[in-house]
Subunit: 435 residues, 2 copies
């Protein structure tokens, strides 16, 4: 169950909010936008019916079960963020510190800081470690460097490295694809028409998820249900369209910053995942008519209740340039009572007969009501609980919304031409140094 | 050594950058602003000479040495962010997973999600755990709730709880102050004139730092050196003023978002610490003349090189509304070579004869040059290495800059009136429920 609450938009004055009329005014666009999206042949919503992939992952996982204490994902950006989110959302918060879980620890290396490389190496027993190398192009410098490093670590101690690696990469092209053939390294494919930031529900996210014991079929089921909503020509039922519509209409009212705030510790990395999706998909120099527009929504990640004590001052009193997207989880586990040792003390008697579950809900209510009273537009996505199915649904919800947002903004939501310049400069500098 | 590089501001066209003339134009304000700040009697730069505090912390640490496996800080916002930063910047990235470090593990609980409470409880042995309860007012609901909960956990198993707690709070007033007297719980003081977000260099940050074995005198030394610069009536020497000046001048050119990007895995939480400082200090409805202005700089945290693969597209091509503050660390530990197994392959030969240390530096150069070519203003703070001294200096650098920024913006950088409304709503809802 994933619900969207937009009532607070109507309670905010019209300069900063959206009336029912405004929310419904674009309903007729759904059909056209869906056709446009279909014409773009993007695989993020069509690739999630791949039973053969799920079977291949299942059988691979069964093969290596019990053999490894540590799984390390080498990847960056879209090759890492979905997996980080899956790991943090669906496992114990201290998973890697618990002993005897029966499951391997999962580490995702999405940086090249030598300190990170060295200190990760410190905790690994190479014999008991398995690496998943993830790069769509097969040529990401950061990921290749990590692969070269760990490959060499095995070689140095005479362990056959190829049994300790699997590649997740393009089906046909790229350096990793060639290497896999030459060196007998098993591979999983990222469909050609699924870009990195849309790839959480491919082998990129599903393989590591399965290896730490998660139910990847439930994740796919949740995504499929949301995909069905995404394809509906109905404003009421099409949650992804509703969100894109709100983001677009409010961007026209100057709300060009989107703050995503889950009120759930485990979803903080979902906001990080979305941060890439929104920034890379909407931050564009040109529109589809090749006019220079320098457009884009700037994503910010936040966490309830923690960031009430960090960002609320700015969000309530500062520039009114933000749309707030909250995520509320109905069931945050068993009731944990707060036992007030001085129930009669006036200064703390508001904490009588309550629990952390009630407190976090109430603080969220206080936060959204205050923002609304201060004319700050906000919407809330409600889920029953954090599990594989809802997480799969949330991924698809925002992937679909982002595709629609591209249509609203008349931009290509699926490219990223603006990252090339820094890559060129870097490669030129490295080449001069290397040769 | 902390240096500031502002050259790229002059390479960006004048609409988006700052000329040498613009940078120097405000030098005459330093004297007045320093006097204004002095009149505000803020303790963030005067409280760091407290030898008695350092001695008290030393002796407390010596007393409990070896007794505990886990230290838990209960605190939120300014009571947590400095400590989180200190912990993540100055310890092994996998500190809490390493066995036999001889130092207790440190956990900072800055949320009330019941899942966080429960799963933290899972990993603690109460006999071997020590709690530091941090709240300036002594009345923060989230922190009191956590304290009530863990207090009760001890009571349930008949362990005298008061030996397992220390309070860090206001010297005179508040619920915790009274409780400490009634129940013989040791306390450390937060000076009355140091607000939460400016308190990292008080007992708030120093006590936990000491308990995990860090050199708090070096941290203070670094802060004192920067404090001396902060008090200099000289544009050249006053780094905090230079940063505030740039932030202010560029905000007038529409750069109201400040992105802080350390190119160092361990400094990612420094940017989180600064995020609160900038948001709460500058996000204001009123200026000092009580005019309604809804002003504020919106902070964003990022991480190099990771976020090149998440945010660079937006930052290079999207709206030109951001100032980028990079942090460069000269020494990121021993050289870790990247051993290219196919040095002759053209597609990867740029990775010949290089190392992670060189790669991260080069990518940072690629990133800042690309931003500059795309007319995106950026500055870089350079430090030799991440250690207690530089971290103390960085805290003071940005605290000082924030105080100057308040002067430039004609606002009170030291209050947070905008958080009251949500607190009121929350307490009202809780009180209705509790009684």
């Amino acid at each position: 169950m994933i619900k969207l609450h937009t009532d607070n938009l109507g309670k905010v004055d019209s300069m900063h909010g959206l009336s029912a009329g405004e929310l419904e005014g674009n309903a007729s666009l759904i059909e056209t936008y869906l056709k446009n999206i279909e014409n773009k042949d993007q695989g993020f919503y069509t690739s999630i019916n791949d039973e053969a992939l799920l079977d291949k992952i299942d059988s691979f996982a069964a093969n290596i079960e019990g053999k490894y204490t540590d799984i390390v994902v080498l990847g960056i950006g879209g090759s890492a963020l979905g997996t980080i989110c899956i790991n943090e959302s669906l496992t114990h918060l201290y998973q890697n510190m618990l002993s005897k879980t029966g499951k391997p620890r999962l580490h995702i290396l999405d940086n090249i800081d030598p300190v990170l490389i060295k200190e990760t190496r410190d905790i690994l027993d190479l014999e008991k470690t398995f690496f998943i190398v993830v790069t769509k192009s097969g040529a990401t410098p950061e990921t290749l460097s990590q692969y070269f490093y760990f490959r060499d670590e095995y070689t140095k101690v005479n362990i056959p490295y190829n049994e300790h690696f699997v590649f997740v990469t393009d089906p046909k092209v790229g350096f990793l694809r060639t290497t896999s053939l030459n060196e007998s390294i098993l591979t999983f494919e990222i469909p050609e028409n699924v870009g990195g930031r849309f790839s959480a529900l491919t082998a990129v996210g599903l393989l590591p998820a399965k290896l730490i014991g998660l139910d990847i079929r439930a994740m796919i089921k949740g995504a499929q249900e949301m995909r069905d909503k995404f394809l509906k020509n109905s404003l009421d039922k099409n949650l992804p369209f509703q969100i894109a519509n709100i983001q677009y209409l409010l961007s026209k009212k100057g709300k060009t910053i989107n703050v995503m705030t889950p009120y759930a510790q485990k979803l903080v990395k979902f906001a990080e995942w979305y941060r890439q999706l929104l920034a890379e998909s909407t931050g564009k120099k040109h529109n589809n008519d090749m006019e220079v527009i320098h457009t884009g929504l700037t994503p910010i990640t936040a966490l309830g209740v923690t960031d009430q004590h960090s960002q609320s001052q700015l969000y309530n009193e500062g520039p009114n340039d933000k749309l707030h997207i909250f995520i509320k989880v109905n069931n945050l586990g068993p009731e944990i009572p707060i036992v007030n040792p001085q129930p009669e003390a006036e200064i703390v008697n508001y904490l009588n007969n309550t629990s952390f579950n009630h407190l976090i809900d109430t603080e969220m209510q206080g936060t959204t009501e205050a923002l609304t009273q201060n004319s700050r537009p906000n919407i809330t996505i409600e889920i029953d609980e954090i599990n594989e199915e809802t997480l799969g649904g949330l991924f698809m919800l925002f992937e679909g919304a982002t595709a629609f947002l591209g249509e609203f903004m008349n931009i290509n939501a699926f490219d990223q031409p603006g990252v090339e310049l820094s890559k060129l400069i870097t490669k030129k500098l490295l080449t001069n140094h290397a040769n």
